[in-house]
């Protein structure tokens, strides 16, 4: 009785929505629920109601009608979700982001990494590195390279550390401020191990790792697996948004949707397997030649 009285006191639009929702999940039709509420309220106010009307309205509704009402509610929810997409879609990307750097003003090393041996992890790495180096004149750049590109080995492009030095030179950053440390292996886990060893030898250094915005969390998981706890605490991660999108507007472009997908796939894999199962075997030029059969006269 008390509940019905409370419902009766609600404003009319709220009562309408409530009635629809109750009707959608109830075995009774919304009208029956509503009549029930009204009857309870009316009895509280000492009003009489027609009992025959009550009986006809309280008959269980058909399954067909109930299903249709549920479909309407689902459709309404979808419409609301679409209208409010700017509010909730950024939240979808939050699990991919690394925690905000807490000690950026204490940074002494800016860690730049390449995954493919050609480009750098994260867009605008050069610009961001240059601005950090200018903001913190005592800071330096430490560079790690996992995969060694065949293009570099063939001399088609210069080594990525040289590309970085040349690009920073455009910002009047001398090349001595960029140091490369050796990495044994091709993956970021190997680079994290190398950085762990470096930080053990240089206990005063504090590092900020520059990487792609949607790769922040997965990199954080790799660092957690590869580095000792004290050293790991000295590394912050700064996620750099793609030039075309960020977590604020990723759904507005095809590249953003693809970036989110890539971020989640890497995150899922890193959660289960942060360190490599076995070392990567790199194919040689001969391997490519051997895989192609010689052309014979019988060739189609």
């Amino acid at each position: 009785m008390k509940t019905a009285g409370t419902i009766h006191e609600l404003p009319l639009p709220v009562r309408d929505v409530l009635t629809l929702a109750i009707g959608a999940v109830s075995d009774r039709a919304p009208t029956a629920v509503w009549i029930s509420i009204m009857r309870t309220a009316a009895s509280e106010h000492g009003q009489a109601t027609d009992s025959s009307a009550q009986v006809s309205d309280q008959r269980p509704s058909s399954g067909c009608g109930r299903t249709l009402r549920r479909l309407v509610v689902v459709f309404l929810c979808l419409v609301i979700a679409f209208l409010l997409r700017n509010q909730w879609l950024p939240i979808v990307a939050y699990p991919l982001l690394a925690p905000t750097p807490q000690h950026l003003n204490e940074v002494t090393l800016i860690w730049v990494h390449t995954h493919d041996g050609r480009g750098f992890a994260g867009d605008g790495v050069v610009e961001r590195t240059a601005s950090l180096l200018k903001a913190y004149p005592k800071a330096n750049v430490i560079f790690t390279q996992g995969w060694s590109s065949r293009l570099v080995e063939m001399g088609v492009i210069p080594p990525p550390v040289e590309i970085l030095r040349r690009a920073l030179a455009d910002y009047q950053i001398p090349s001595e401020r960029v140091t490369q440390i050796d990495v044994a292996g091709y993956q970021f886990w190997n680079a994290a191990r190398a950085m762990d060893a470096y930080l053990s030898e240089h206990p005063q250094e504090r590092v900020v790792l520059l990487t792609s915005e949607f790769g922040g969390r997965s990199h954080s998981l790799v660092l957690r697996a590869a580095m000792s706890a004290p050293n790991r605490d000295r590394v912050d991660i700064l996620g750099l948004p793609d030039f075309r999108y960020s977590h604020h507007d990723w759904w507005k472009s095809r590249a953003g949707v693809k970036g989110l997908m890539v971020g989640y796939l890497y995150l899922i894999y890193t959660v289960f397997q942060p360190q490599p199962v076995e070392p990567i075997r790199k194919l040689t030029l001969d391997d490519f030649d051997k895989l192609i059969p010689d052309l014979s006269e019988k060739a189609p």
């Binding site: 058909s62 065949r150 030039f243 990567i280 490519f288």
Partner: protein
């Protein structure tokens, strides 16, 4: 009680899938690989996005006489990334030259090719000019199915003039792809991209609408039938004792 049995059945299936994962996971990657042995062709086309392995496979094909010319798609760099490295097609050209392919045998398809589908569209324009030409497409093994899907979608009858050669990938094979991050990413993303392609370029949206409508109609019909049966049962006279 029935639900418990369903739950146990699902649990058993999942447990068996985990225990025997090495038996069925390779099949997922092998399904994506529709590459064949090479055919003699007029053009060897290198799909964009795999500069570490595809040009090397294409150069090996060329040097062994499987093709007369090599086709590349122009791929413009994303905004903001122009200054660090040249565009991919220029790098691929440099790689091919370094591998001994004469520059007059390298043909670049002009345009901004941001996706597999766009590259095949440009190939279609070339085949319209040279309808008798035979093409061998070189791409990663797991990318061959989506490429073939695009070829059939765009070229129609001319698709028979195109064959596919799988380029080997560093770090993973079809038999152990889930053991490396790159392999996991390549295979899972290919399935997602296939799904996207079927929606964006194929019959995915109309088929989903039709299937969804049929499901809704079926559910409503079943509910309606159940309600009618209930009302009929209520009208039945009680059996006399």
């Amino acid at each position: 009680m029935k639900r418990i049995w369903w739950f146990l059945l699902c649990l058993t299936v999942v447990a068996l899938a985990i225990v025997f994962h090495a038996r069925w996971l390779p099949g997922l990657a092998q399904y994506l690989d529709v590459g064949t042995a090479p055919y003699k062709s007029d053009y060897i086309m290198i799909m964009g996005g795999g500069i570490e392995n595809r040009p090397f496979t294409a150069a090996a094909l060329f040097k062994k006489g499987w093709g007369k010319q090599i086709l590349l798609s122009e791929i413009r760099p994303s905004p903001g990334r122009e200054n660090l490295l040249p565009p991919e097609h220029e790098l691929t050209t440099a790689v091919l030259k370094a591998l001994g392919v004469p520059s007059d045998r390298i043909v670049v398809l002009k345009g901004n090719h941001a996706a597999t589908f766009h590259e095949i569209e440009s190939l279609g324009q070339l085949l319209a000019r040279e309808p008798q030409a035979r093409i061998t497409i070189v791409t990663d093994a797991v990318h061959t199915r989506r490429t073939r899907w695009s070829v059939r979608r765009i070229l129609g009858d001319k698709a028979s003039r195109v064959s596919f050669v799988s380029a080997p990938s560093d770090g993973y094979g079809l038999e152990n792809w889930w053991q490396s991050g790159e392999g996991f990413f390549m295979v899972t993303s290919e399935y997602l991209k296939l799904l996207f392609y079927s929606f964006r370029y194929g019959w995915g949206i109309p088929l989903t609408v039709v299937a969804g409508t049929l499901v809704v109609v079926f559910i409503v019909w079943r509910r309606f039938r159940t309600a009618r049966e209930h009302s009929l049962a209520e009208c039945q006279p009680l059996p006399s004792s």
